[in-house]
Structures are given as structure tokens and as C-alpha cells.
Amino acid sequence: MNTAADEFPIVLQNVTRRFGKAIAVNDLSLRVARGTTLGFIGLNGAGKTTTIRMLVGLLKPHAGRITVAGCSIPNQRDAVKTKLGYVPDRPTVYQWMRVQQAIEFTRSFYPNWNTHRCNELMKMFDLDRNKQAKHLSKGQAAKLSLLLALCHDPEVLILDEPTSGFDPLVREEFLEGVLAVTSERQQTVLFSSHTLSDVQRLADSVAIMHEGKLLLHSPVDALLEKTKRIRAVLDDESASRQTPPGMIFQQLRGREWTITVQNFTSEQVEFIRSRNHVSQVDVLDLNLDDVFKDFVRGKKETV
């Protein structure tokens, strides 16, 4: 059991959470390998924040098991706190505390506080030590939350939509802060984001949530390699179309027919060519944004 926990610092098994009649997270099973970064993506309301809150022990799951850094959550929550860093979607620091106060307050609870790291991040983030938290701008407040989450060298870092609503410069500074720390140590990171370009650059693997369910979990490069969009021009747009196996989503614009497939093989191109009256078939590569949207649109259509 110990080796499994070492390999996967974040494990969710059949986790379910309801709010009244609505199921926010539905039988979710997911694990993140040590030293890797998982990008957690999905539409608003897909269940990302609920999942994250259960992961850090702020919300009780109605079913399933959660293990973080080898400790069962929420029962062994207290044991994992020194190894866990959490940046919520909205700042939670005491608003009346000044930056310096907040740092000293937080430091007093961690025996493993890294002062060198703290100074390094303070310089990088350029925060005013005397400013009260309530007078910090959105970006500055988030940088403070990040600093307080990173300075005790956590093994596991969890970020909930860390850069949403940031101006481009602050976003970069924030990500630099995250990378500066995670690139030095074997840290396991899980972050949810709507900025899919960030996920594409920073994540080793990605998990897509949709309506409480896990749609897919895959390394980013493999996903982008295997998911392709086939574009074909139909001779007759009103004719019935035969779609290839492995289709995620299709769209018809006039005579232009695009089919997004997972696990692309040339056989799918052959299928389309032979079973439909088409001319000019092309295969297009997709970025993460395209892949995500097509997966989600495809799911919405089947419902």
C-alpha cells in the first residue's frame, strides 16, 4: 500500500458528492503520478471546484475514498497539512492582516517553512509588505495566497483556477512563481483552469470533467497526437452521412463537413471516403482548446 501512495500522491476512488438532488461529482476516479502536473478542465459547474474542495478536506464526499500524500482525506486531514499547499479560487487570507503579518502568522504554524523561498518569492512578486490584504489588487492577493501556499515546500500543490480574471502580465508573474518552485522539486501539482493554453504549456496530463463525470484523462501530448479533425467537402449536403467509429463530434457548415475523432487512424479517413460522396479530404491537427471544445460539444449533443 505504501508504494502505491508514494507513486500517486493524489488518488480519488469512486468519489461522489451531491448538493440536494443535484449530483456535482459523479463516481470520479482519478490519480496523479508523483512529480507530474495535472490540468483539470471543464465547463463552469462541471464539478472541478467541488472536487478540489473535497481533495483538500474542506468538503465531505458522500461516497468514495480520497488519499493525498498517503493520508486518507478527510480523516487524516491534519497529518497532511504540512505537505499540502492550496490556492483557492478566491483569496481567503485575513483581510485585516498586512502582507508581512500574514507571512509571519502563517510561518508560525509550519516547522518546515523555507525562509529563502519566501524571500525569493517576495522579490519575484513585488508585494508591498505593509499593505493590508483588503487593499491588494486581485492579482496581488492571488500572489500572496500562492506565496503562503508554497513557502512550506509542500509535496502536493493544488490550485483552483489560479489565473482567472488576471491581466496578462500578472498571469505570467503568477505562473513564473509556480514554475520557479515546481521546477526545482519533485512536486505533484493539480490545477484547474479555463485558460487552456496554460494547461497545454504547464500540464503533463489533462483530465476533462463534464457534468460531474470524468470524460477523459490522458497525457497532453498523446491526446493531441491521437485526436484529429477530418475535413471533407460533401457533394450533397442533404444526403445522409455515415460517421466513422471513434467519432467525438461532427459539424456541417454548408458542404463542409468536419468530424473530430479520437485515436485517429487512416482507416477512419478511408471509411469517410468510401461510405460518403465526398471530395477533398484533409486531416487537421488540433490544439487543446479545440480538443476540449469538441469533446464537450459532442457530449452535449448525445444527451
Binding site: 507530474t36 502536473t37 505570467e172 505562473l175 513564473e176 514554475l179 520557479a180 515546481t182 521546477s183 526545482e184 487552456l196 493554453s197 496554460d198 497545454q200 504549456r201 504547464l202 500540464a203 503533463d204 501530448d221 493531441l224 497526437e225 475535413r231 477533398q280 484533409d282 487537421l284 491537427d285 488540433l286 490544439n287 487543446l288 482548446d289 479545440d290
Partner: protein
């Protein structure tokens, strides 16, 4: 070097191509030290594992090598290897242009003409 996450080309490939291009054009000379994995990751804002993958490809292709206690340096034979190597980023850009041309119904001869005109244009702009 700029990373285009919107581009469907894998980021590690873009990084490798960026360094390859820098070597080919003389920005990096043989014996030069290239940024460490960590420094490069920070500069480009990408996952260090991705940079690692790019460096591994360049090492395999004989463009860079690891020097003990120093870091990754450009090999002696690099410039030639870089120039002859397949630049995937460039290839991808051309493929995208070809796809757009096909979608617009432009023929092969048509895009050849456009290419020649664009090349002349670029040369003219670069002249003093």
C-alpha cells in the same frame, strides 16, 4: 523563441526547433552554453518535463551534449546538422498554409506562385 500553445505542434517540438534554428543561424555557436532545463522552462513558461524532452531530442540528433559540471553545450558539428535537420515547426507552418490553400480551392501551381511572390517580398523587406 516564442512558444505557440495555440499551435497544434507539440511544445517540445517547438522548443527543439527554436534551438535548432538558433544554431543554424549562428545565434548559438559551437561550445556555447544553452539555458538549463529549469531556466528555459521559466523563460518560456512551460513544464520542465517538456523542455527535458526537447533537449533529449536535440541530444539524440547530435546538436547538443551534456558537459559535466557545466550544463548543455552546443556540439562542434552542430551548425551543419541543424541546417540539414528537419525543422518541424517550419514544416507545420507550411502544411497549415497548404491546408488553407486547399480549402480555398487553390491549385498546386497557384500556391507555387504565391510562395515565390512571398519569398521575393521578404527579400525586398530585408534589404537596407
Amino acid at each position: 523563441m516564442q512558444i505557440e500553445p495555440a499551435s497544434p505542434l507539440p511544445i517540445f517540438q517547438q522548443i527543439a526547433d527554436g534551438i535548432r534554428a538558433a544554431v543554424a543561424s549562428g545565434i548559438y555557436r559551437p561550445g556555447d552554453l544553452i539555458p538549463s532545463v529549469r531556466a528555459q522552462a521559466l523563460a518560456l513558461l512551460v513544464n520542465p518535463n517538456t523542455v527535458q524532452r526537447a533537449y533529449e531530442q536535440l541530444e539524440r540528433d547530435g546538436l547538443i551534449t551534456s558537459k559535466k559540471g557545466v550544463g548543455m553545450i552546443v556540439c562542434q558539428e552542430s551548425p551543419a546538422a541543424a541546417k540539414n535537420g528537419v525543422d518541424q515547426t517550419l514544416r507545420n507552418a507550411i502544411s497549415q498554409a497548404i491546408l488553407s490553400a486547399r480549402a480555398a480551392g487553390i491549385s498546386r501551381a497557384g500556391i507555387d506562385r504565391i510562395y515565390r511572390e512571398a519569398w521575393n517580398e521578404a527579400e525586398k523587406r530585408g534589404k537596407p
